[in-house]
Subunit: 364 residues, 2 copies
Amino acid sequence: MGTDIIDPWGATGIKDYQQTMEQFGIEPLADVIDQIPQPHRLMRRSIILGHRDFGRIAKAIRNDSDFALLTGLMPSGKFHFGHKLVADQIVYYQQQGAEVYVCVADVEVHNTRQVSIEEARDIAIDQYLTNYIALGLKPENCHFYFQSEGPRDYQVLSKLLADKITLNEMEAIYGDLEPGKIISILTQIADILYPQMKSEGGPRPTITPVGFDQDPHARLTRDVVSRVQSNYGFIKPSFTFHKFMRGLKGGKMSSSDPQSYIALTDSVQEALDKIDQAKTGGRDTAEEQREKGAVIEEDTVFEMLAYHLIEDDQELKEIQERYTAGDMLSGELKQICKDKMRKFLARHQQQRAEVEDRVDEFLN
Amino acid sequence: MGTDIIDPWGATGIKDYQQTMEQFGIEPLADVIDQIPQPHRLMRRSIILGHRDFGRIAKAIRNDSDFALLTGLMPSGKFHFGHKLVADQIVYYQQQGAEVYVCVADVEVHNTRQVSIEEARDIAIDQYLTNYIALGLKPENCHFYFQSEGPRDYQVLSKLLADKITLNEMEAIYGDLEPGKIISILTQIADILYPQMKSEGGPRPTITPVGFDQDPHARLTRDVVSRVQSNYGFIKPSFTFHKFMRGLKGGKMSSSDPQSYIALTDSVQEALDKIDQAKTGGRDTAEEQREKGAVIEEDTVFEMLAYHLIEDDQELKEIQERYTAGDMLSGELKQICKDKMRKFLARHQQQRAEVEDRVDEFLN
């Protein structure tokens, strides 16, 4: 596998975001952030770091004109703060006027993780949809659908697009491929383009917020669009790219390791215990910490605050300054995080309980 | 493309049926024909020449036990006698007790022949289904469905199977592949296995009657079955292989050349004119014909009689003997064919008119 390959199935991972952006022509979001009236905290903090064609979306937001958001979810395991990163963006774009499409990748999870279609459905609803609603997703202008049940136009699209792509081209982007991955890729391209079909009110600008590892799909989809122009008139889809949250122990956040994440359905006590165990950028001794300050880039607790628990930029900035200056120990930082986590989870879980019977509004 | 490759999309064609059977391990149908009580005329005349695992089907017919037939149709152009070859087998197996599945390849025709899904649907109903019914297909135990609308289990199956096949393996069977063909192959495997899913009452023996050019799908499907044994318990599907009817001018029968075929909706006069123009195996002069007899292997008019218009083996045999002995001229053979064609088309088209309003019984 050459250096031109990003593996969207997670075998490699992104080492250097800046280099990835330069290599593949992803633009800095900072260049366009001023074009929208209310940038999301993840944008303001450069957690959403890159974009392709975000200008189109900024314009739609400013002009209050038609655009769609679409995102996929892989129903497997518990819904944790890594997933909330995407959920927050879905809710944000809905508030900014987007028609929302959420595709449940039940077929893909069934193939790759030995989860039955029925089980996948239960997880998608109980773990994902219910949390989305508790986080603010509204049923108006929202399409929540399953890959296995997608409407006819959608099923046809993924097969039709197959004729527009060569295997050589796919392998140049993804490396060696097998039929299972080829099907995954085609299905994802169809997911991204589906809101632009005439039957859905397209063509129109669309935004798909993803992690950097999904850029191969973004590139290929944008290339394919020009080839089906005469049939569909699709507009090249827009993407933003966010950095990943690290796991609480410093490595990868992984659904198969419950100590690496906090689930939004974890009990408060479980969550606080995980914060107590979390890797920080604090120094070995209090003395050294006061002298040198924390290495904030390595601090998973600060990351939790920045990504999720502090909305106010000024408040975050003050904590960062004190912590890196050595005026705050990591125990103190953890206490701040625990206080905020306690409040967040209590409020979120109450909201979850209140909205649980509203899932049906999204399922028809 | 090596000699191990058969192209099921028709770019090459089968030169030598016997050699193909030996090379790919297709058994002679003659070996098993005695195992069924009422072999079809196409079997008795070795037009259906080969099989894989037909014994399983013969047993189900003898024991009156559960089995299914499945077949695909490519809705494009007019329904002609080349298509009737398959239709007759569908009706035959239904009469022998099979539950029938007919899959309309609307997605494939849409991709490969620029036919819209709506147009494909109209052709499938008006040209294929209506003729099937007029030829004797009954709505009981018959599933007539569209690739673009297939049920969830079916959609999932084609994607799930993708994971069980490597690209190397596919290319060893089909030659170089592009994503469009990979999708076609996977969809066809799912079509073949669909009647064996639990939701459809499977597993159970299935028969798919095809031309020799479709053997790559047969081989790959049978190979895949063993790999999904633990998930599905599928039985290896059975196939028969028939020779192709040649076009009336001696070359390939082609939907794009109306002089090469007789459509079942052609007027009697059109059909008779085409028979008048058809290539025969008669000699250049009457004298030479009386002396040497006809070259029956090259005679498309005799082929029409043998494939379609004469049910009685003895009657056919007598014509063959007189014709090859030089006791019959090709004009006389054509007159026999025209008389039978006139009767067939008059009766068939009357039946078509009578059943036209019955298509709805098949569409739900």
